[in-house]
């Protein structure tokens, strides 16, 4: 840049015509808030789950079935899975938004990630229900 005073700075401003009429989405904090709420829920749930897995780690499948058949464990597992997968989906969306710059590809990546997360949730919820009613 030879002479800084001669530089046209119009590029620094967004066009009013582009900004006008877009308005507020009115849900700007929803993502942020959901991430915090799920994070707070995951603090006790993660502690409980790690303690449970340590207890089960040296035992055969029968012990896992017995553990999962207890309604309290099944309820906590469902809470963990919903909070964990929702929290995961919120975080991965932001990661994809940050690093995938081509709009079409970005949308495809987010939709694929959400579809996989939903399937993981359904598969794990069915499994928990099956454990809960198996005894």
């Amino acid at each position: 840049m030879a002479n800084p005073n001669s530089v046209d700075v119009a590029v620094m401003r967004s066009m009013l015509s582009r900004a006008r009429g877009l308005g507020s989405a009115k849900s700007g904090t929803a993502h942020w808030w959901a991430q915090r709420v799920t994070a707070i829920a995951l603090v006790p749930l993660a502690l409980w789950f790690v303690a449970s897995v340590i207890g089960l780690s040296h035992q055969p499948r029968a012990a896992v079935l017995h553990w999962g058949a207890h309604p309290l464990n099944a309820a906590l597992l469902l809470a963990l899975l919903v909070m964990l997968l929702h929290h995961m989906q919120l975080g991965l969306s932001v990661v994809i938004e940050d690093y995938v710059h081509v709009p079409g590809r970005r949308l495809m990546a987010i939709l694929a990630m959400k579809a996989i997360t939903a399937l993981l949730l359904f598969a794990s919820v069915i499994s928990v229900v099956r454990l809960a009613v198996s005894f």
Partner: protein, 143 residues
Amino acid sequence: MSDVREALMVGRGSTGKQVRRPLSPHLQVYRLPLTARLSILHRITGVGLAVGALVLVWWLVAAATSDGAYATVSAVLRSPIGYLALFAWSVALWYHFCNGLRHLGWDFGHGLDLAGARRSNMFVLAGTAVLTVLTWLIALAAQ
């Protein structure tokens, strides 16, 4: 103007004079401070834990399916690579856990100054180390 990138570097100083804006930290040459390293580590561990969530669901589905399916998961997780992955996930989990608590503290306005951030750096690192060691001591003692 020779380059569009130059146009993006133009700003105005407090006196109104046009200035060339300072360059933001250049990731290849700028030595990131600890707070910045821990910040990106939160995202890296989060993505790693998402992979761990896949295995968690696999474990649950296998437990609900059959003895054979459960034996397969057990064998994979008890292989050397399985133990390595479990160890990595435990570190990632406790790091994300401790740093997540720090983020919640920041959300309430606690420790947002540099001194506070440096103190919580140590809390996060020490918490991760203590919880990881504790997890594996209890887990290995139970075997």
